[in-house]
Amino acid sequence: MKKYLYGVLILVLLILPACSNKSSGDEIKTGDAKNPAGTITVWGWDVAAATLKESVEIFQKKYPDVEVKVEDFGSGDLYEKLTVGLAARGSGLPDVVLMEDERIPGYTHQFPQGFLPLNKLGYDKYKDSFNPAKVAAVQDKDGNMIAAPWDIGPAGVFYRVDYFEKANVDPDAIQTWDDYIEAGKKIKEATGAQLLPIDISNYDGVFQMMMQQQGLSYFDEDNKITLQSPEATRAMSVIKELYDADLVFNNSGWDGIVTATVNGTVATIPYGVWYTGTIMDQAPDLKGNWDMFYLPKFKESGTRYANVGGSSLLIPSTTKNQSAAYAFVEFFTTDQESQMLGFEKYGLFPSLKDTYVLPEFTANSEYFNGSPIFKRFAEIVEEVPKIHLNENYAKASEITSNTQSSVLLEDKPVEDALKDAQKQLENEMKR
């Protein structure tokens, strides 16, 4: 009897997982490429999800037969659900999904068949409508456009006009990182505020910006790790100098940086353009007290331009309504009105170039000290050095954050720390 029971149970075990693969395929209403119809689901988060939701109305003017359901998760949850769904051969996945650009190589490496190559559906014709660095970021190794470009994050240093005036520091005179440090010391003396926030143990954003200014990511074009390059040493050394001069505010996470912004704990914040939305939203009282200068450069080499963040839209290849999903992605990313919706309301900076001439872009911003801040960001979009990322981005970023905390918090010499980091990343990448 026992044996018999076990036999049944083992049988059940073997059959159950086999069943789950063939989910009952209900007949869904879909149209064809010319007249898409039916319902699609879109995953996004936060302000991006809000933008997607609001743009549906505009989309439906052109495609009245398509229903769009936008679901809003935190980005961490979204990635987890996406990973699990892809690993389970597409069960429970949406028709369109939002993804940060630096995550794209990781996903296309892990799941080479996971997403539709948009160029094969006709997206190729828009290649020149976007800024080239962004287009490069959404391509896979074979040059297929895996994602449709949405927003980008040209970087600058947001600063407190009143603090700079009080300390008698001229923002235009800050050309190099050395100038920046000197200015920081003066400002600290005059106002008590620290110069910039860095989430030391969890986020290496400043380091990444500094690397991109010099034309590198954690990897060069040949996929070689750059952590022991002179560029990386320079970047980490400047961060160390800033910390040693007690100019770094060690913020904990996103809430920490927002609190520091609102409370006036820091005088400057080097970040992507999308942070304007948060500043305006969270600190309405500081109107007129914020402005922006471009990133300081390294005196040895490099530019004053970098990019932080940005995301794109992908279509999982398991979608049951490809025509409607593509219609939505194509429409949303190339439609000025939808793009401006996200820009005006939430500060999501489009990569669609022909939006940059619109009056909303060129106007002076009252909040930002009456300067044409968005025009100035738009002007540098073409100047941002193209960098090469690969599937090891997440690992590299983690290792660099750890290196940053060992250099700043545990006093490990910059060269040793970077050498160890390079070695660790090499080990990880061998696999």
């Binding site: 029971l5 990973t83 892809l86 799941f111 904990s252 905390s405 918090l409």
Partner: protein, 307 residues
């Protein structure tokens, strides 16, 4: 109706016989436990087995290839794994004794008839154990914030400035220990209380007639009598600590520089952040092995002379 009455017993016996085939008193228990067993097989045994197979595979997307023991050999050369192992053991060695002794002290206190409002205190101490961990960890994260947290504000009133609760490697560990202790002391206290109630009171009476004071009674009666409870709490706490995940995940995300990365946190990151499910499964199996060995040693050490 009439026809039935006329019928002999024979067909009825026959019916009973066929029924008997399926549901005898002997088999009935199996039928009753079947739902639970089937669920356990699907949701526990099956994943356990399949992750064991997974630990010998490399997973890329939906393709799996057998790689033999390479996940395990990699594990033994992985500095982050060693660090997470070390962290876990540091937490274990420091936290469990503190918590168990605290739980015992509180239990003895609440057991004595001198304390008023015992039920209230019991509930108060037990509450953390039934609080949602994520919510609790977020509250602690806010309390312990280096710049804006309440804890540092109070300390500053006494002239202690800016303890980096979550951002220095040392204090981050201390914070994790603090939160773990806050959460689990009450739980262990309840177990000790139950144990205390089982100690016969004539032991104490006899001791006090012999002239033993309260302290002597505690060390010579209470503690030896609580031995099985000790074994239970220590083993359970050890297993719990070896599987520690929520507190560091929310409080510090394993930082700074992996100072609070525990084995399970590393396992999770390996699987869900870096997509290496095969390697993550190997970590899981090594953790199972370690847990089994330590539990076995603890049972041997404490329990031997009972037999």
């Amino acid at each position: 109706m009439g026809k039935v009455e006329i019928k002999t017993n024979a067909p009825i016996n026959y019916q009973l016989k066929t029924r008997k085939k399926w549901l005898t008193p002997k088999r009935a228990p199996y039928v009753f436990i079947a739902p639970a067993i089937i669920l356990m097989l699907i949701f526990t045994v099956y994943p356990v087995l399949s992750s064991f197979i997974l630990s010998f595979q490399e997973v890329r997307g939906i393709e799996k290839t057998f790689v033999g023991f390479s996940n395990y050999t990699r594990l033994f050369q992985d500095p982050v794994f060693y660090k997470s192992l070390l962290n876990t053991f540091q937490l274990l060695i420091i936290q469990v004794p503190i918590m168990v002794s605290l739980a015992l002290l509180i239990a003895v206190g609440l057991h004595s008839s001198m304390v008023k409002g015992r039920t209230l205190f019991r509930i108060a101490f037990f509450m953390p154990a039934i609080t949602a961990l994520i919510a609790a960890s977020i509250v602690f994260m806010i309390l312990l914030d280096e710049h804006f947290g309440l804890v540092n504000y109070f300390l500053s009133l006494f002239g202690i400035e800016g303890i980096k609760w979550l951002t220095s490697p040392f204090w981050a560990k201390a914070s994790v220990i603090l939160v773990m202790t806050w959460r689990w002391t009450g739980y262990n206290m309840v177990i000790f209380l139950a144990g205390l109630q089982n100690i016969p009171s004539d032991l104490y009476e006899a001791a006090s007639i012999d002239g033993a004071g309260k302290v002597k009674q505690f060390f010579w009666i209470t503690i030896p009598q609580l031995k099985p409870v000790f074994i239970f709490t220590v083993v359970m706490s050890t297993i719990g600590t070896l599987q520690l995940f929520d507190e560091p995940f929310i409080l510090t995300a394993g930082g700074p520089n992996n100072a609070t990365t525990t084995i399970t946190l590393y396992l999770y990151e390996t699987g869900f952040k870096y997509f290496e499910f095969g390697y993550a499964s190997a970590i899981a199996y090594v953790l199972v092995l370690i847990t089994a060995i330590i539990s076995w040693i603890q049972m041997k050490l404490v329990g031997d002379d009972d037999k």
